[in-house]
């Protein structure tokens, strides 16, 4: 893609992506691996009550 095409795509995605909800791996632990969760004191997702 040219820089112009890339900018157009970013602009098109901006309204969908603005609050990060298309990249939940950045803001929740839901997508974090089980070994790391355990080492940092978080239970596996399947053990969470909700």
């Amino acid at each position: 893609m040219t820089p112009q095409e890339m900018q157009q795509l970013r602009d098109r995605c901006k309204s969908f992506a603005a609050d990060g909800h298309l990249e939940l791996y950045k803001s929740t632990k839901r997508y974090d691996g089980g070994v790391g969760r355990e080492q940092h004191g978080y239970p596996p997702p399947e053990q969470l009550p909700l």
Partner: protein, 313 residues
């Protein structure tokens, strides 16, 4: 999925290829971490894609992996999804078709799918190991050097090789991870030891959480060869790795490895926000050495190959 997997308890002899002789590229990363603004969409557009070789229309282009001088395919095969396939035979077919088509970068991690991803990739690469640039990740998540070295031996055994081309610290995603990794006796010492032993050629780290954690790792000025992170067309408005980390890697000559080009779980594709081709082309147009893509079927592989062949930014 996991129901088809039988944990390996075999005592069979695992063939190994001769260890390559290689030279370690001397690399000294210097400089300070620079804070970056949260939203500068024009800044990202200024970044030039890395130059590629092997660019005829029927080949998968290759790019140089930072200061290592290695050439790797611009699309990499992700190890996680490989281990979710229905059977070993399916995985072998996928890997071998990818290699034969010119994909050279292969990703994995010690912990993926209870080690099935490494086991299956190792089986699939028998007879093709020398054609690929093989990476896996160490998963200490804060534990010490001894745990890391034990994992390295297990990864080598499952991948049926005596060395890795790249060994990365997996999921540097918790705020205290950099402190744990660089603590005395931590995983960084394992990276050094593994290189000395000739079992690992190059080293790096990965993470998907926050650019600030990546920058905290880089602030130690350790000579990482690679850094892996999410890079996609949705990244620019929230915790942007493209804006905050990618320029710093370029400045240091560290190879950037992109992942999550479709937004991780592919929801933006499913909802029609973007198409898979434009999403992948965007990611590959950034100044990265390769874009690692999860592929769990021959259809997905062939779709990615069609996009990558003869790719021009």
């Amino acid at each position: 999925m996991a129901e088809h997997y039988q944990p390996s308890g075999r005592s069979e002899v695992i063939p190994q290829i001769d260890r390559r002789r290689f030279l370690q590229a001397g690399l000294v990363a210097t400089g300070t971490v620079i804070g970056a603004p949260i939203l500068q969409s024009s800044m990202a557009a200024a970044a030039a894609p890395a130059a590629a070789t092997n660019t005829s229309s029927d080949q998968i282009p290759r790019r140089t992996l930072g200061k290592t001088g290695e050439q790797v395919s611009i699309i990499g095969l992700g190890g996680y999804h490989l281990g979710t396939m229905q059977s070993l035979d399916d995985a072998v077919r996928l890997v071998q078709e990818a290699v034969d088509a010119g994909v050279t970068f292969f990703d994995n991690a010690w912990e993926y799918n209870d080690h099935r991803s490494e086991e299956w990739m190792g089986r699939a690469l028998q007879g093709r190991r020398d054609k690929v640039f093989l990476m896996t990740k160490v998963c200490t998540h804060g534990r010490d050097k001894n745990v890391a070295m034990q994992q390295l031996e297990e990864s080598l055994k499952r991948l049926r090789t005596d060395h890795l081309d790249l060994w990365q610290i997996h999921e540097v995603i918790y705020e205290n991870d950099p402190d744990l990794h660089f603590a005395k006796g931590g995983v960084i010492e394992a990276l050094d030891e593994a290189k000395k032993q000739g079992k690992v050629r190059f080293v790096g780290f990965t993470g998907h959480k926050n650019p600030s954690i990546h920058l905290k790792m880089l602030a130690h000025n350790y000579p990482f060869d690679t850094v892996q992170m999410p890079l996609n067309c949705f990244d620019g408005t929230y915790r942007s790795f493209e804006q905050q980390v990618l320029p710093e890697l370029e400045r240091r000559g560290i190879a950037a490895l992109g992942m999550k080009s479709l937004g991780g779980d592919g929801q933006p594709i499913l909802h029609g926000v973007v198409g898979p081709e434009e999403a992948l082309r965007y990611a590959m147009s950034l100044p990265v050495a390769t874009t690692i893509s999860g592929m769990d079927s021959l259809n997905v592989l062939r779709q990615n190959l069609a996009i990558a062949r003869g790719f021009k930014p």
